[in-house]
Amino acid sequence: MALVDRIGTSLERTPGGGIILTSVDALVDWSRGQSLWAMPMGTACCAMEFIAASFSKFDYDRLGTFPRPDPRHCDVMVLAGTITEKMKPAIQRLWDQMPEPKWAIAMGNCTVSGGIFYYDSYSVVRGADEFIPVDVYIAGCPPRPESLIDAVMQLRELVHEESIAPGKRRERNTKLPRSKAEANERMEAMRTPESDGPHAPAKVVNKEFPSDVIADEGGEV
C-alpha cells in the first residue's frame, strides 16, 4: 500500500501528472469494483436471503461478488442478521482481519438500527455502525436479494470515487445521495398521496378484467 501511496502523491505533484493519475484511478477503481468479494457475516435470518442472492436464481456472481469463507480474501463484509453483544467481539475481530481497502454493507433492519430488538432487549447491539464503519445500508426484514444486488451496485459507485492519491476523492457524476438530508429530500420527492404511510392500502390493479366488469360482480357479465 505504501508504494501505491507514493505513486499517487508524486503524480499529483508532477505537472501534467493529473491526467495519468485519473487514468490509473479509473483502471484501479474499475477493477476493484468488478470483484468485490463478500465476507458473509450471517448471524441471523438475513443470511438466508444472502444465500439466495448468491445462488443461481439471483446469482450475484455475475457482478463479481461472491461469498468467501476467509476474511483475508474479502473486500466487503455483508453484515446479515441480528448482532448480539456476545457476537460483537467476534465480528470486530473478523473485520480487523480483512485487508484494506474494505467496505461494509449493513443488511436488514437489525444491523441498521437493532430492528425489532431495539426496545426491551438486553443483549442486542443497536446497529452495526456502533462498531463498524458501514458504507451501504439496506432496509428490510429481511431485504430481498434484489436489494442486496442494488447495494453492491451502490457500493461500486462508492468504490469508483476512490483515488490512489491519499485523501483525494474522484469527482464523478453519481446518483448516490451525498448526505442524510439529501436522502430525506429524495424520499419526500418520491412520496405520493397513495404511498403516504406504511399501512396505506395497496392500489388494486387488475389488468385482465375491465373495472366495470369487476364492479358488476354477481350480476350478469
Binding site: E85, K86, D120, Y122, S123
Partner: protein, 155 residues
C-alpha cells in the same frame, strides 16, 4: 389422553409407592411436585423407573419463589413427565442433575445465566448465552438495566 395419564399414575404407584403421593395431573400433563431437599433422590429414582431422557430444564419467576421445571421422557413407559421444585429467592441454590442425566450440563447453565439459580455439583457453572462480564440475570421479573430501552406506550 387422560387414560394414558391414569395408566402412568398406576404404573408409578406399582413401581415406586414413595413417589406416588407427589403425582398429580395439571392441565393435561403428568406433574410431580417435589420438595427441593428430596429433588436429587427423587430424580435418581425416576431414572431407575425408566425416565432415561431429560428433555428440558427451565425456571419460572414467581413473586415469592422460583419454580424449577424439569421435563422427563421415558421410552420404556412411553410417557412424559414434569417435575417441579420450589427454590428460595433469597438463596437460589438447587442440586445439579448432571450426575443423573449428563444432558443437564448446558440446560442448567442456561437457567443459571438467565435466572441466577446456582446448581450445586455442576462441573462447569458459567454463563452460556450472555457474555461473561454481563451483570444481572435478565429473565428475572425485577431485572433492570440501563442498556434496556423500554417500549413507549402508544395507546
Amino acid at each position: 389422553m387422560s387414560d394414558h395419564l391414569e395408566e402412568l399414575r398406576e404404573r408409578i404407584s406399582e413401581l415406586d409407592p414413595t413417589i406416588y403421593p407427589l403425582f398429580s395431573i395439571e392441565f393435561g400433563d403428568a406433574v410431580i411436585a417435589v420438595p427441593l431437599d428430596d429433588l436429587l433422590v427423587t430424580m435418581h429414582r425416576l431414572r431407575e423407573l425408566g425416565f432415561d431422557r431429560l428433555g428440558m430444564v427451565t425456571a419460572v419467576d414467581r413473586p415469592e419463589f422460583f419454580v424449577l421445571v424439569y421435563r422427563l421422557h421415558s421410552r420404556a413407559l412411553s410417557a412424559g413427565l414434569f417435575v417441579k421444585a420450589k427454590v428460595h429467592k433469597e438463596d437460589p441454590v438447587a442440586p445439579s442433575m448432571f450426575e443423573v442425566w449428563p444432558a443437564a450440563d448446558w440446560q442448567e447453565r442456561e437457567v443459571f445465566d438467565l435466572f441466577g439459580i446456582d446448581f450445586e455439583g455442576h462441573p462447569d457453572l458459567k454463563r452460556i448465552f450472555l457474555p461473561d462480564e454481563f451483570e444481572g440475570h435478565p429473565l428475572r421479573k425485577d431485572y433492570d438495566h440501563p442498556r434496556v430501552i423500554r417500549r413507549p406506550d402508544y395507546i
